[in-house]
Symmetry: C2
Subunit: 190 residues, 2 copies
Amino acid sequence: MDKREQLVSVAQQLFYKQGITATGIDKILAQSGVSKRTLYNHFKSKDELIVAALQRRDKEFMTMLKTAVPRLLKQKYDGATHAGLWAYFDAIDEWINSDKFCGCMFINASAEFPRKSDPIHAICASHKMLVIQFIEQLLVPFQLADSHKVAVQMAILTDGAIVNAHTANQMDAAKLAKMSAQQLLHIYQQ
Amino acid sequence: MDKREQLVSVAQQLFYKQGITATGIDKILAQSGVSKRTLYNHFKSKDELIVAALQRRDKEFMTMLKTAVPRLLKQKYDGATHAGLWAYFDAIDEWINSDKFCGCMFINASAEFPRKSDPIHAICASHKMLVIQFIEQLLVPFQLADSHKVAVQMAILTDGAIVNAHTANQMDAAKLAKMSAQQLLHIYQQ
DNA sequence: CCAAAAGTACACAGATCTGTATACTAATAA
DNA sequence: TTATTAGTATACAGATCTGTGTACTTTTGG
């Protein structure tokens, strides 16, 4: 019933699966069953729709993390305090090996909109910052001297795993990234 | 004078800087000073030109690695046998912080052409395999039990650094990735 | 019930994109 | 020299894309 939500939801799916530039407005209208006039009443351009789709994906992804990590922490590690980070990599692994996986929407979007000044690119950057903050929380039990730096290192492992799975079909990339993380934190813990 | 080479060279630059779908044939023709008919005598479609541009970039990037790594190995590590991998991460760092950097062309291309069956996507995958092989050579001095697995872990760190630099403006990503690599190989060396 | 808000259908402007057709010109090689 | 090859200029077909204009219909709140 909420036409705006329908539009953004369908746009998000199509942009993610087929690329943003490659997805025309008409495809989104056809699949959502909304008229073109309604779209341009809610958004003044395609760019605004792209922004809304990315913001929706941002919320969706963070929600996924915030539910999957506690679930896996309980399932696989009996809720052990330090194991949040392992559960995080397990969650990434689950996602990468699910059929909905098509790379990271924000990495993909910044590939299509490479100019740093582009608002679309800026949204991608701030999403990545949010993920780094999320990781930093999981690092608290390790009592690290510079937990932000380590969080960025974990983010690098994450993005590397995502890209290797998507581009090079390395579907075990998240498992390898998790191993790397465990070995790295073994050092930091000393 | 070699019109084909001019076309592929300009196409590579524009595809890399602006994205592939966003770059029209006409822009490539204008910048290379070649007529449209000549383009379609050499390539039967834009897709073929894309393939040629990616293959050219593949050669260029591998050549860059094969010259930068020995140079940095000598400059910074006095040619120490085991330091090839550190020189490799230094080379990635140099590239990331150069003004020509605009992410990894193959990561970007697979974002725009996500279907695994697409020949363009396949070229991206095989480029990543070449890089992994290159890394594996640098791991020889470490005499690892499973050097391929570690090479993939290094590739994950590399791609993560590239993506974090490009998408999240983390320009020190390669330095952090190098640190991770050094800590990881310290373990593997024991 | 009725007025305002929201949505639909559809035509179309104007730009852009890939690819082709045609007729002419420059270079090259036997 | 002359035939062939390679390239140019340019118009254009046909598709597609974003965005607007207009007239009609549905929904909804007071």
